[in-house]
């Protein structure tokens, strides 16, 4: 188990390094004149000179990268060129909102998806199977940002039950969380349905049945435990996609989180803020994945033995 943990953490770190490299290359190496890209709207000669000096843009790329990493280690993501505030500070202000939205949506979607997926887990080819497949296919084809707008229209404008975007009370959370949760719910329903259904069809389950074990026990103990492993795997992958959904949902509902921050930073021509936010989002996903993988390690006995 410790070997697994060490390997996973090492992997996470190297991936993190890769992420920093990607961002670094995109922001500093790709543009013709990175100083101009970073300065954004304030590209007067003084600011440009200051940036060049500050980032050491005349040094070899490797040295620049090293310096960049050193800064990151100190949580120094630079300064937002529009407000002059530290990027890390701005991000810290926005993290709770995003975390709240992401966690709530995932929890609701996962829980109900798991439940419905198990409940409908049936042999392939049955009517329920078709219904689940088609229903989730159609539901997942509906763009989230559009659904968000439709929900606002119905519940905020027409029925006047819920606030029109913004942040503050639990009522503000309902619509954005629902928008995201629906997608999650559909996805997990289908995934669990297919995987649990698959496991149910497997040999050893049939054996358990033949031995006369009660159906409930079969479902919850045997099927679920085995299905949990791929479910936990896909949970890790899903978190990255969830972040993408969060960006759109935050924009629709004016939710003051990281996603909306990144979009605002783009239109504020504020590259340090964009780069910092995206990198941080990547870190969040990495950490979440790591946690999930470690959890997976506790579930999967094969791993524990390794």
């Amino acid at each position: 188990m410790t070997g697994y943990v060490v390997r996973r953490v090492l992997r996470a770190l190297t991936t993190l390094l890769g992420a920093t490299l990607i961002i670094f290359v995109l922001v500093r190496v790709v543009p013709a004149d990175p100083a101009v890209t970073i300065a954004g709207p304030k590209a007067d000669p003084e600011t440009l000179a200051a940036i060049r000096k500050d980032l050491g843009l005349d040094d070899p790329v490797a040295v620049q990268y090293g310096r960049y990493l050193a800064r990151l280690a100190h949580a120094d993501l630079g300064r937002s060129y529009m407000t002059g505030r530290r990027v890390a500070g701005v991000i810290a202000e926005r993290v709770p909102a995003t975390a709240l939205l992401a966690a709530t949506s995932l929890a609701i979607g996962f829980f109900f998806g798991l439940a419905l997926g198990i409940a409908t887990a049936a042999r392939r080819g049955s009517l329920i199977d078709v219904a689940v497949l088609l229903g989730t296919l159609i539901g997942l084809s509906i763009p989230g940002f559009w659904l968000g707008n439709v929900l606002i229209y119905e519940f905020s404008y027409r029925l006047k039950l819920l606030p029109l975007g913004g942040y503050g009370t639990w009522r503000h959370l309902i619509l954005p969380a629902t928008t995201l949760a629906i997608g999650e719910f559909l996805f997990y329903t289908r995934f669990v349905h297919t995987n649990v259904g698959g496991t149910l069809a497997s040999d050893y389950i049939r054996t358990a049945r033949a031995k006369g074990a009660p159906p409930a026990r079969i479902y919850f103990v045997h099927a679920l435990r085995n299905a949990l492993i791929p479910i936990v795997t896909v949970l890790g992958l899903d978190i990255a996609d969830l972040m993408s959904g969060v960006v759109l949902t935050e924009t629709v509902f004016n939710w003051p989180g990281l996603g909306r921050l990144a979009v605002q930073a783009v239109f504020g021509l504020d590259i340090p803020l964009v780069a910092g936010t995206v990198l941080f989002a990547g870190v969040l996903v990495l950490v979440a994945n790591l946690v999930v993988d470690l959890l997976y390690g506790t579930i999967d006995p094969r791993v524990q033995r390794a």
């Binding site: 954004g40 709207p41 304030k42 590209a43 007067d44 529009m82 002059g84 202000e93 088609l134 439709v150 229209y153 119905e154 905020s156 404008y157 027409r158 006047k160 606030p163 029109l164 975007g165 913004g166 942040y167 004016n254 003051p256 605002q264 239109f267 504020g268 021509l269 504020d270």
Partner: protein, 532 residues
């Protein structure tokens, strides 16, 4: 399966019907009762104000709040007449180059410290300091010794004298008929020296201390801003309000809904609702509108090809369909043919350019660009600007100009246009700071303003000469005649495509009284009171 499809279709159709216009919040909009003290004025804004530091803010939102926190020596009444504020009275020397103010004795900062002449001097010197990068400093370069101070050659501005704690005297290098007007701008607000020095240039905006009717009680970045009544304010009985609260991060649509539900007291009318609101009798008593001294325009960067050629700039002027632009802003305003808004003192009609795409194409041919060209229009990301931009994009396509649009946030836009060579074409507006043509022509189009507000980097020595000659003239007739000549020449050189002069409008909650839209300044909140 098919039944599901039908249900879905019905659901979609049901969604596709417009929601009827809700009534405004209920209550009698007007009455005879005298002003009542107390209550909290609730407003909403989509973004934080850029600054609360009067030396730095130069936009409507910042100015509105700065006016609540600070005072100037003199101010405008409900119109354009100058009245005393921190100064009780003043005298002008016969040669027009010296102004002497007698200050009120009862003014204290919100901290309790009495305001003296030394604070006035400090505030203006702070404004002039290069480190603060103020866009308002240029207005006060006419003070004696200002240029030396700015260059670092002097430790103080000798043209600002404080012979007594309650007297401030100004010496000008040349006659400036606009000096008093300039003193009404928030740039000239009196700040508390102790606080300014304690917090420094960067942080004073978060801890502003002034003499105003309100003090900053709370500013949670991105969420809310609260200004509370200043009990030490020198005008007894004012402000009537206990506090004013601004919720930040509220989109215009959300603000409108909140207004309808009575959750906020003031709001702008979203474009989508405009027609219905104007036609609805229930809203009429609550509408606030005014003509403004504002021009919305396309700025053509005269240093970036192909806009470095007059023929091309004139072609741009001929190509734009301004009538349609006016429709897109719901008819709220008038088409602009010249630089100055029609209500500006001294403004006379300028013939301008008709909408004539054929003539535009001919001009391009003359300039050797018969095949057209490609360029980028920088505009603010808000919905209104984007629609105007797309309309113009379509107009220009008709003459072979391929316009790419670059939407940016407003603060990024006003920063970017200040730097040469970055923005070839931009959509902006300018609102008069004081009622004189120089506030448009000199500030925006004199060649020496290229570092501050001349974002088209336009330069015509003849125009400069006319503007310099007109500036010190006290006689309005001569002054305005010269300005008009300059304006005619500018329109011929076409560094701008003047689009329209918008009217401003807003709605108020029925309980709001005493709130008026001012032609030159954000509304004065100290006279606002709430009927319940």
């Amino acid at each position: 399966m098919s039944r599901l499809a039908w249900l879905a279709a019905l659901g979609v159709l049901a969604t596709a019907c417009a929601v009827p216009l809700d009534p405004p919040p209920s209550g009698a909009p007007d009455g005879d009762e005298p002003p009542r003290a107390g209550g909290v004025l609730r407003e909403a804004s989509s973004e934080d104000p850029r600054y609360l530091d009067p030396a730095k803010g130069y936009d409507t939102v910042s100015w509105g709040l700065e006016q609540m926190l600070f005072n100037t020596l003199v101010d405008y009444d409900a119109g354009t007449t100058i009245v005393p504020e921190l100064a009780e009275s003043w005298t002008l020397s016969p040669d027009g180059r010296h102004v002497s103010f007698a200050l009120r004795h009862d003014v204290v900062f919100s901290t309790g410290r009495p305001m003296t002449a030394a604070d006035v001097k400090y505030s203006l010197e702070r404004l002039l300091r290069p480190a603060i990068h103020s866009q308002g400093a240029e207005f006060f370069h006419g003070l004696e010794g200002a240029t030396d101070y700015v260059a670092g050659k002097a430790k103080e501005v000798r043209g600002i004298r404080t012979p007594a704690p309650d007297r401030v005297e100004f010496d000008l290098t040349a006659v400036d008929p606009l000096f008093l007007h300039k003193l009404t701008m928030p740039f000239a607000a009196v700040v508390d020296r102790e606080a300014a020095e304690r917090y420094g240039d960067e942080d004073f905006t978060r801890h502003p201390v002034g003499t105003g009717a309100f003090v900053l009680e709370e500013w949670v970045y991105g969420q809310r801003l609260r200004l509370a009544r200043n009990p030490r304010y020198f005008r007894a009985g004012r402000p009537y309000l206990d506090a004013a609260e601004v919720t930040i991060g509220v989109s215009p649509q959300l603000a409108w809904l909140k207004y309808q539900r009575g959750e906020i007291d003031l709001a702008g009318i979203p474009s989508a609702e405009f027609q219905r609101v104007l036609a609805d009798a229930r809203y009429r008593p609550l509408l606030l509108s005014r003509t403004t001294l504002r021009t919305q325009y396309l700025g053509l960067n005269c240093e970036v090809p192909p806009f470095d050629r007059v023929a091309v700039r004139q072609a741009m002027n001929l190509a734009i369909d301004k009538r349609r632009l006016l429709e897109l802003i719901d008819g709220q305003g008038v088409i602009a043919t010249g630089i100055l808004p029609p209500d500006m003192p001294g403004a006379e009609p300028v013939p301008g350019y008709p909408h004539d795409p054929a003539a535009a194409r001919r001009r391009l041919e003359e300039a050797g660009l018969a095949a057209g060209f490609a360029t980028t229009l920088w505009a603010s990301r808000d919905e209104g600007s984007m629609r105007l931009a797309q309309s113009m994009q379509e107009d220009l396509r008709q003459i072979g100009v391929r316009l790419a649009l670059k939407p940016v946030d407003f603060p990024a836009l006003i920063e970017a246009v200040r730097h040469p060579g970055i923005v070839p074409l931009f959509l902006l507006g300018w609102e008069a700071d004081f009622p004189d043509p120089s506030n448009f022509l000199t500030v925006l189009l004199h060649s020496r303003s290229r570092d501050t507000n001349n974002n088209t980097f336009y330069s015509n020595p003849e125009v400069d000469r006319l503007l310099d000659e007109a500036d010190p003239l006290l006689d309005p007739a001569r002054r305005f005649r010269l300005f008009h000549e300059a304006e005619v020449q500018i329109v011929q050189d076409a560094p701008w495509v003047p689009l329209f002069h918008p009217a401003g409008s807003a709605v108020r909650h029925p309980r709001v009284r005493g709130y008026e839209l001012h032609p030159l300044r954000p509304s004065h909140v100290e006279g606002v009171w709430l009927a319940w």
